[in-house]
């Protein structure tokens, strides 16, 4: 089992995005690079790839879709949390039913954001998770 690395402002921040839609990953990458200057943005297009990258790179936070080809985001979150229980996972999904939120929470996800609320919620959630290591003034505009 892996524990979180000590976090300081100087640490190299890394964020893993897991979503099968390349356009969405592209958009998220642009937003995150804007919010977190110099952060390393990692990408996975499916749950298996997310697990591998999470194990190899130990990102500071993971943004995970639910509907993925093959293993879904809930099962990928469970697998990641077994390996690295302190890694925060934020689910970003089109699903808005409570049943999905409950499943995500049970899998170990710390936050659940509906994709339509991404612009208003994601920056604040990441800011909180990353000990205030945000976020340029641009984040409030998005």
């Amino acid at each position: 089992m892996r524990t979180r690395k000590a976090s300081t402002i100087e640490d190299h921040l890394s964020i893993l995005i897991c979503d099968d839609h390349e356009v969405l990953r592209h958009l998220l990458r642009a937003r995150l690079e804007n919010w977190f200057d110099g952060a390393e943005i990692l990408e996975a297009a499916d749950g298996e790839a997310a697990i591998t990258i999470a194990a190899e790179r130990n990102p500071d936070v993971i943004i995970m879709d639910i509907a993925l080809p093959g293993m879904n985001g809930i099962d990928a979150t469970k697998a990641i949390k077994r390996w690295s229980p302190d890694t925060p996972v934020v689910i970003l999904s089109v699903h808005e039913l409570d049943a999905y939120r409950d499943e995500a929470r049970n899998a170990g996800a710390l936050h659940y954001i509906a994709k339509r609320n991404m612009h208003s919620e994601l920056s604040a959630v990441l800011s909180e998770l990353l000990d205030g290591r945000t976020a340029s003034a641009e984040s409030s505009k998005d």
Binding site: H21, E22, V23, L24, R25, H26, L27, A45, V94, K115
Partner: protein, 218 residues
């Protein structure tokens, strides 16, 4: 040279944002409008006559393939590109048959969308690499196998529209309002399409619609 005028249609606002971001900073491309479902896409395509329409395959009210067919019938000069998560022969075949000029997979759409827009504008088809392989395989196997077909072809365009709306859980009254039909006429369509598809109840109809990509599973 005038810029390529593009219409976007996707029910997910952040995907529209992402596509806009990819296309808008290119001097030869202008995004002129976006739509959140297939019906709005058809209405805007008819009104604005873009050069290219990029349609998500899985949209509420009218999916991308049916929207492509309607746009093709109304404004055949518009080049439609389907954005899809499916690389199966049935979906590709239906999209091309509906008049689409391009078929892009979501897994590679960010890298390919610019090229696709420029290619279809120049009068050439554009298929994602995985899709091209599938089409080529289907062609090479053609002599030994039954031709590609979809059970959806047993239905008329109107029946396919109603199939999607029923599978989305809409009542006959709602569907009637949307399509300017009486609820009774909608019921008649519904009975007929169930008979044609050989399904006995609503649950089986919804399963069929999901299996064949008429509605998304989520």
């Amino acid at each position: 040279m005038s810029s390529i005028r593009v219409l976007l249609a996707d029910d997910h606002a952040i995907v529209l944002d992402g596509l806009r971001r990819l296309l808008e900073d290119k001097p030869d491309i202008t995004v002129i409008a976006d739509a959140a479902d297939g019906r709005e896409a058809v209405r805007l395509a008819k009104k604005l006559e873009p050069d290219v329409a990029i349609l998500d395959i899985a949209m509420p009210a009218l999916n991308g393939i049916e929207a492509a067919a309607q746009i093709h019938a109304l404004r055949p000069k518009i080049r439609v590109i389907i954005l899809s998560m499916y690389s199966t022969r049935e979906h590709i075949y239906r999209a091309l048959k509906a008049g689409a000029w391009g078929y892009l997979l979501k897994e590679s759409a960010a890298q390919e969308v610019l090229k696709a827009v420029r290619e279809v504008t120049a009068g050439r088809r554009y298929l994602s690499e995985k899709v091209s392989s599938e089409v080529l395989d289907a062609f090479l196997e053609g002599s030994d196998h039954a031709p590609i077909e979809s059970p959806l072809e047993r239905l008329s365009a109107r029946e396919r529209e109603i199939l999607q709306l029923v599978a989305e859980g809409r009542s006959s009254s709602e569907i009637g309002k949307l399509l300017f039909l009486s609820p009774k006429t909608v019921d008649t369509y519904r009975s007929r399409l169930m008979r044609k598809l050989g399904v006995g109840d609503l649950a089986a109809l919804v399963r069929f619609a999901i299996e064949h990509g008429v509605v998304a599973s989520s």
